[in-house]
């Protein structure tokens, strides 16, 4: 398994950029404990994490004590090249909705796309997206700013 294959495997099973980093860390720690008898991780492991580890571990036979360090150096390089889809939303999204969003993005744009959620209450409603340095604003704040004059004149007509 190459570093790229590992990341593809993990990204197919997670939705967010931070989940991917967390899962890579789990894989690394599991191998460290195997090679160097280190303690198991103290990080919180979900059911999905356990399933992923069970799925991936048999495929990691090519990683030995000798190439372990260089393999994960290359994994880190690959991670630095990943471009997440950054989504700004005005509320904290429940996990079930996040999964729905993740499934939607993977279905529409490919299974390798990862999301990075950011919380911005000033958006009021809607969302903003950042992809490869392009910022697209679909928020209510942006709409209201665009139609500021119209909104003000409407309010003023009520005041009369």
């Amino acid at each position: 398994m190459t570093p790229k294959d590992l990341l593809t495997e993990i990204s197919n099973n997670c939705y967010s950029y931070f989940q991917l980093i967390h899962q890579v860390r789990l894989v690394k720690q599991s191998l460290e404990s195997k090679f160097y008898n280190k303690d198991e991780t103290k990080e919180e492991i979900t059911q999905e994490d356990t399933q992923l580890l069970e799925k991936i571990t048999p495929k990691l036979s090519s990683i030995t004590k000798d190439n372990f360090a260089s393999f994960f150096d290359n994994v880190n390089k690959e991670i630095s090249n990943l471009i997440p889809l950054i989504v700004y939303i005005p509320f904290e999204m429940p996990e079930t909705e996040f999964k729905q969003l993740g499934d939607f993005v993977k279905e529409k744009f490919g299974s390798h796309i990862l999301i990075e959620l950011r919380f911005d209450p000033t958006l009021i409603g809607g969302c903003s997206l950042v992809w490869k340095g392009q910022f697209k604003d679909y928020s209510l704040k942006s709409k209201m700013t665009q139609n500021k004059e119209e909104i003000f004149s409407t309010f003023k007509s009520f005041l009369k």
Binding site: G133, Q134, S142, Q146
Partner: protein, 481 residues
């Protein structure tokens, strides 16, 4: 839906920030974060964008910067005359905001106008300082480097030039680069006291300001100069001091990891200065018609004239005035070394009589210096040698001028011709020292003498001028008796 280009901070080194994203960004574009901190795009790498942060504020990795739809600009209008601003156009003189009416945003980073927009320099830039106007003339549109030792009177000389422009239509722009705030305050006060602030704009990036602002100060000075030049005005730009600007750029370049070259300066230091000075010149009417005269100043490190930056600057200007502390200490003002200074353009703007007199004075001084060497070995000197040495002393005294004085060109010419007349033939330097001001005042105020003053520039030869002065010699003797 609105679309913008954005980038996130991936690295931060003091005032340098590296951003990802921003797919179509170009050098000199502007970015701004949510807190309003503005950045100026300085370099672009395959994976990141290097930005100089020009406002003060805190930065941290992950911050969002948006690309702005305008370049780095400074707001300019007639209302900034008499004001002191920072390189971003913010007033720093405590006189309140600059009126918004008529303000025009001008880009700081502009390519210098091409050769087709320029014309031959024909008009003299009159400084009111005898040494400059007669011996080392400056043309309107010329770039003349002011270079010299510390404490040799360079800044005072530049302030004198600004003060002497108050009765002319010339706009003076003084860019104070990396000086202490108190020094900037003193310059503002000095110009205000001498009523020269009304036609002057001071651009000051003091040593406590963000380093990118110090780097931008000369660009702002030239952007403002171009605004007035395009309105047909003659502008004087003084950059004090370009050495600090070079060191500032070295600091930025070293911090950004650019390869250091000679004396640690980056490879493009020559370009950084030359493309600023190239914006000076005398322009054709269809390009505005005005002129930009540049007087960049640099202080020498331990009188080392041949170090990297001064020699760079000499090669990109039209001459230089070398100030020496030793000359300043013996009372010469301006303390300019005549042998090591040069003005390559100014001579073509002088009248015939000025050129002839200037050559004669140079010849006299050079000849006298040779004779001085010989005279050290002999106590009895021939009469001719004594005369030449006496004339040299008198000429040097007449070329030396008190600070904040303005001598009109015709009187300058009369003064330096007097040592060749019978009026001063039997006198010495002490007589000149004692009566210099009296003679100047006589030529300004006396009706009979003032008619000669009005005709001085019409003379074709020095002999004609000497003959005219011989006629008024008895009157001068009476005045100085």
């Amino acid at each position: 839906m609105t679309t913008q280009e954005v980038g996130y901070v991936i690295e931060n080194k003091n005032f340098l920030v590296y951003l990802d994203g921003l797919p179509t960004i170009k050098v000199n574009d502007m970015v701004q974060n949510e807190e309003g901190l503005r950045g100026w795009v300085y370099s672009i790498y395959p994976d990141k964008v290097e930005v100089l942060i020009i406002d003060e504020g805190k930065l941290s990795p992950g911050q969002l910067f948006r690309k702005l739809d305008h370049k780095l600009t400074v707001p300019v209008s007639e209302a900034i005359l008499g004001r002191a601003i920072n390189p971003l156009g913010v007033p720093i003189d405590g006189k309140g905001p600059i009126p918004q009416a008529g303000l025009k945003l001008l880009e700081l980073e502009r390519e210098a106008p091409g050769v087709k927009s320029r014309q031959f320099i024909t008009n003299q830039f009159v400084t009111g300082i005898t040494f400059i106007d007669t011996i080392m003339p400056i043309g309107r549109g010329q770039r003349e480097l002011v270079v010299g030792d510390a404490h040799s009177g360079k800044t005072d000389f530049l302030i004198d030039i600004i003060v002497n422009q108050k009765s002319t239509n010339v706009i003076c722009i003084y860019a104070s680069i990396g000086k202490q705030t108190v020094t900037v305050r003193n310059i503002i006060d000095s110009l205000t006291t001498n009523k020269a602030i009304t036609n002057t704009i001071i651009i000051a990036a003091s040593s406590s300001d963000p380093l990118p602002q110090v780097f931008l100060a000369p660009k702002t000075a030239f952007a403002i100069a171009e605004y007035f030049q395009q309105k047909g005005r003659d502008v004087l730009v003084i950059l004090d001091d370009v050495g600090v600007h070079a060191r500032t750029y070295r600091e930025i370049a070293l911090l950004s990891g650019k390869n250091p070259g000679r004396e640690g300066y980056p490879g493009d230091i020559f370009y950084q200065h030359s493309h600023i000075f190239e914006r000076a010149g005398n322009f054709k009417a269809e390009y505005g018609g005005g002129s930009i005269t540049a007087l960049p100043m640099i202080e020498l490190n331990l009188t080392d004239l041949v170090s990297f930056i001064p020699t760079n600057l000499m090669s990109m200007t039209d001459g230089h005035l070398l100030f020496k502390q030793t000359l300043h200490n013996i009372g010469l003002n301006p303390a300019i070394d005549i042998d090591l200074s040069v003005s390559r353009v100014g001579r073509q703007t002088q009248q015939e009589i000025q050129v002839r007199l200037s050559s004669k004075i140079r010849e006299l001084l050079a000849h006298a210096r040779n004779l001085e060497t010989v005279s050290r070995f002999s106590s009895l000197l021939p009469k001719e040698t004594k005369l030449i040495l006496n004339q040299k002393e008198m000429v040097e005294e007449l070329l030396s001028q008190d600070p904040l004085t303005n001598i009109p060109i015709p009187i300058q010419l009369i003064l330096i011709t007097l040592p060749f007349t019978t009026f001063l033939a039997d006198q010495d330097v002490n007589f000149v020292k004692k009566n210099k001001t009296t003679i100047i005042n006589a030529f300004i105020n006396d009706y009979d003498l003032s008619s000669l003053v009005n005709n001085v520039l019409k003379f074709k030869t020095i002999e004609e001028l000497i003959a005219a002065l011989e006629k008024v010699s008895p009157k001068l003797k009476t005045i100085c008796a």
